[in-house]
């Protein structure tokens, strides 16, 4: 805290923009991210590291898919659902995508209402986001069950390259875990908003630090990231 209040004075001077701004902001003896709080900066850096984790998963999937002699199962057929007598390709995945995008939209609006100090709307929108996230996880559980019943295992499947199963369970499993953790934290944060913790500065149960409405935005960053990862999984695993 002492250092941050020291840097506080030099922040009053106008900062240069563009490339000079990058050099000036990164120069020694100062805070690099001028108008971003530590909470937000650290969430971004966590998300950056998470990007590398998912990047490595998708990379290993790419490597496995290129290097196998056995044909890769066609995701369009594997993830098709029989609705009303006809096979509709990838329909479940498409619905899951729309559900997750909708949850991102409600989260963005929750952040907005949070900064307007509209406790009720913020909490309701966050709970709606959590409900959509839980729906997503439920549909993923259905998808996993269906594939496991059809004989997909991490070491093999009835349609082609054995690496299909391991890539699928690893990538979607890790993403689903992220969604689940997000849902839990959404509910915790929504409860805090509803109770007015961020208005009265009530200490958090774990860190004992006062929260601010910015916590909603930080929560939102995580949630949008989960949606972002799904965009890449959808493109590379399901559509490619």
């Amino acid at each position: 805290m002492a250092e941050t209040s020291l840097t506080h004075t030099d922040r009053m001077a106008p900062r240069p923009a563009g490339w000079q701004g990058i050099a000036a902001d990164w120069a020694s003896d100062q805070r690099a991210f001028k108008n971003v709080s530590w909470g937000k900066a650290m969430m971004w850096i966590f998300l950056l590291s998470d990007t590398f984790i998912f990047g490595c998963f998708l990379l290993s999937y790419m490597t496995a898919r290129i290097s196998t002699r056995v044909p890769w199962p066609n995701p369009s057929e594997v993830f098709a659902l029989r609705i009303g007598g006809s096979e509709i390709p990838l329909i479940l995945i498409a619905i899951m995508t729309f559900v997750l995008i909708s949850s991102s939209g409600t989260m963005a609006m929750a952040v907005n209402f949070g900064y307007r100090r509209d406790r009720r709307k913020t909490a309701i929108l966050m709970l709606l986001t959590a409900a959509l996230g839980a729906t997503f996880v439920g549909m993923q559980a259905f998808e996993w069950t269906k594939l496991i019943m059809e004989g997909v295992r991490p070491w093999g499947n009835p349609w082609g390259a054995a690496q299909f199963g391991s890539s699928f369970f690893m990538i979607t499993g890790f993403h689903g875990t992220h969604v689940t953790i997000g849902v839990i934290f959404l509910i915790i944060t929504a409860r805090k908003v509803w109770r007015g913790d961020f208005d009265v500065g009530r200490p958090g149960f774990f860190t004992s630090r006062r929260g601010r409405y910015e916590n909603v935005e930080i929560m939102g960053l995580y949630w949008h990231f989960v949606d972002l990862v799904w965009v890449f999984i959808f493109a590379f695993f399901y559509l490619w």
Binding site: G21, W26, I45, T63, A64, L90, A94, L228
Partner: protein
């Protein structure tokens, strides 16, 4: 766009003036306040782009057309989410480059692994024959 952030700044400064016990670091933290309409428009675009990428599969497009369309829709969606939903468009350039540049460098890794995987495939074909 810039005025939205500036406006948020001003409001926050007002707010912290009242709360003496707030951490001093909070003074210059920019709040992200934008009209709800912006989020709704982005939301609609994400729906449209997702539908488009689904239709690529539905109509069974193949080859380079399929792959380029998938990549274009993917990048547009990712860009909208990061820029607007995650408010990256209103951050300072130092922040943008710190977060966005490192993942782009993963492309170097991708290139390496494409060569490596091709080599593995050739070796497998040489030793085990073309099919299973």
């Amino acid at each position: 766009m810039a005025e939205a952030t500036a406006n948020g700044l001003g409001q926050h400064a007002l707010h912290t003036a009242h709360a003496h016990d707030a951490a001093p670091v909070a003074v210059a933290d920019a709040h992200q306040e934008h009209p709800i309409k912006l989020y709704l428009v982005v939301w609609a675009w994400l729906f449209i782009l997702s539908t488009c990428s689904y239709l690529v599969d539905y109509f069974g497009l193949h080859g380079y057309l399929r792959w380029s369309l998938i990549l274009i829709f993917m990048m547009l969606k990712a860009g909208l989410i990061v820029a607007v939903f995650m408010h990256m468009a209103w951050e300072r350039l130092a922040m943008m480059y710190a977060i966005i540049l490192p993942p782009i460098l993963v492309l170097v890794f991708v290139t390496m692994m494409v060569f490596e995987a091709d080599y593995t495939l050739l070796t497998r074909i040489a030793f085990f024959g073309p099919g299973p």
